[in-house]
């Protein structure tokens, strides 16, 4: 994929219950690599202490090219933001072997 040059780090924090659906969506968008950790937190939708059942959050981080990162953010806002506890943020990173991420 010919993505713009600046590699981006996209971080998504959301409910763990949608992990499977979300990963499928991301794959369709063209995400080839990601890293997930199990986390807990607080936000507009209250405290999510991660102690049981559907109470936990996941944190997904994706290193990718600029245009893919824009697509991801737009897609998430449209599909998930209204009904799910979710935040995303994005920052510039530098990588070695950029072909691992921009391809």
């Amino acid at each position: 994929m010919s993505d713009k040059k600046q590699p981006k780090l996209v971080v998504i924090i959301t409910e763990s219950v949608i992990e499977t659906t979300l990963l499928t969506d991301l794959e369709v968008l063209g995400v080839k690599g990601f890293t997930i950790s199990d986390v807990r937190g607080r936000g507009h939708r209250g405290t999510r202490a991660g102690e049981w059942g559907i109470d936990g959050n996941i944190r997904i981080e994706i290193v990718c090219g600029e245009s893919l990162s824009d697509q991801i953010l737009a897609f998430l806002e449209q599909k998930y933001y209204d009904n799910y506890a979710m935040i995303t943020y994005c920052s510039d990173v530098s990588v070695i072997r950029p072909e691992k991420f921009l391809g």
Partner: protein
């Protein structure tokens, strides 16, 4: 008093006093896997020893109840409770389905009071878990051409707790009492202790939801008490109709009265995203679970006695 109730109170009080006590999520998972498998295995073993001709009519009746309960509560929640459509459907699903933890407490209660009950009750747990989820999702979304039946089936039948309950049931049924025997060291002998720890954790969790009740006000509290009571009556009547013993009738009433907090929340969260999960969990965990465990079960027992005509 049954010690397991005291474990629940210990957790509840510790959390309300803001103690640092907390169990790691992995332990909660482990305990619930053990509970679900044990209950499934027990039910399966009974299935293996009983003629299908006795069981089949009961099974059908119980499944019908599983479909009817949410259909009855939905209009009430919508009209009387003025909940949004999605929330009403979600609550109907939660209360139409069952809580495995509540079931286990009911069984422990009967054991503690040395009251007999039909041993195939775990089968009813399995049967009641799913129908209300299907009804709830359809109530929320309607049936249209776009209804994704495959996803619906996936969400209802392949959730974690169903797989474990049903899997345990099938294994117990396949290998029978003698086949299950070597597993008893882990699954049956430790059952009461596992339930005690599980209730300790439930106490800790409940406390959080109790404190979120304020946000949702009186109507939710009323439904959280009213729905189980009404459902218990239906369950008790059905139990009597099916010729169950007083113990069995108590269990069926408890199952009807109990509200899911594991299988249903997960399925509804993905299938009906517009429903507010905090609302239904506040009701199910913040009101109904503690009510059933502390007050409801003995009440449903009296109800079963009354209906069966046994003098109190």
């Amino acid at each position: 008093m049954d010690p397991i109730i005291l474990f629940f109170l210990l957790g509840l009080i510790a959390a309300l006093l803001r103690s640092e006590l907390r169990l790691p999520p992995a332990i909660y998972e482990f305990l619930s896997v053990l509970l679900l498998l044990t209950i499934g295995l027990k039910g399966g073993v009974e299935l293996a020893t009983q003629p299908m001709s006795t069981l089949l009519p009961q099974m059908v009746a119980v499944i019908v109840m599983g479909f009817v309960l949410p259909l009855l509560s939905f209009p009430l929640l919508l009209k009387l409770g003025r909940f949004k459509r999605a929330d009403a459907a979600s609550l109907a699903a939660h209360y139409g389905s069952v809580s495995v933890g509540t079931f286990a407490v009911a069984v422990a209660y009967l054991g503690h009071q040395q009251i007999e009950y039909e041993s195939h009750m775990p089968l009813f747990v399995v049967l009641l878990e799913v129908p209300a989820i299907i009804v709830g999702i359809i109530l929320a979304k309607g049936i249209t051409r776009e209804t994704n039946w495959k996803a619906l089936a996936h969400e209802t039948f392949l959730g974690k707790s169903i797989v474990l309950l049903l899997g345990g049931l099938l294994i117990g049924w396949a290998v029978g009492p003698s086949g299950v025997e070597p597993l008893s060291g882990l699954f049956f002998n430790t059952f009461k202790g596992v339930l005690a720890l599980f209730l300790l954790e439930m106490g800790l969790i409940t406390a959080q939801h109790v404190s979120s009740l304020r946000k949702y006000g009186i109507p939710l509290i009323l439904f959280g008490l009213g729905l189980p009571l009404a459902s218990a009556c239906i369950g008790a009547l059905l139990g009597n109709l099916l010729g169950l013993s007083v113990g069995g009738t108590t269990v069926l009433a408890t199952l009807a009265a109990s509200a899911s907090y594991i299988a249903v929340p997960a399925a509804i969260r993905t299938a009906v995203p517009e429903a507010n999960p905090a609302l239904s969990l506040a009701a199910s965990l913040g009101i109904t679970f503690p009510f059933n465990v502390l007050v409801g079960i003995p009440l449903y027992h009296r109800l079963a006695l009354q209906i069966s005509g046994t003098p109190l």
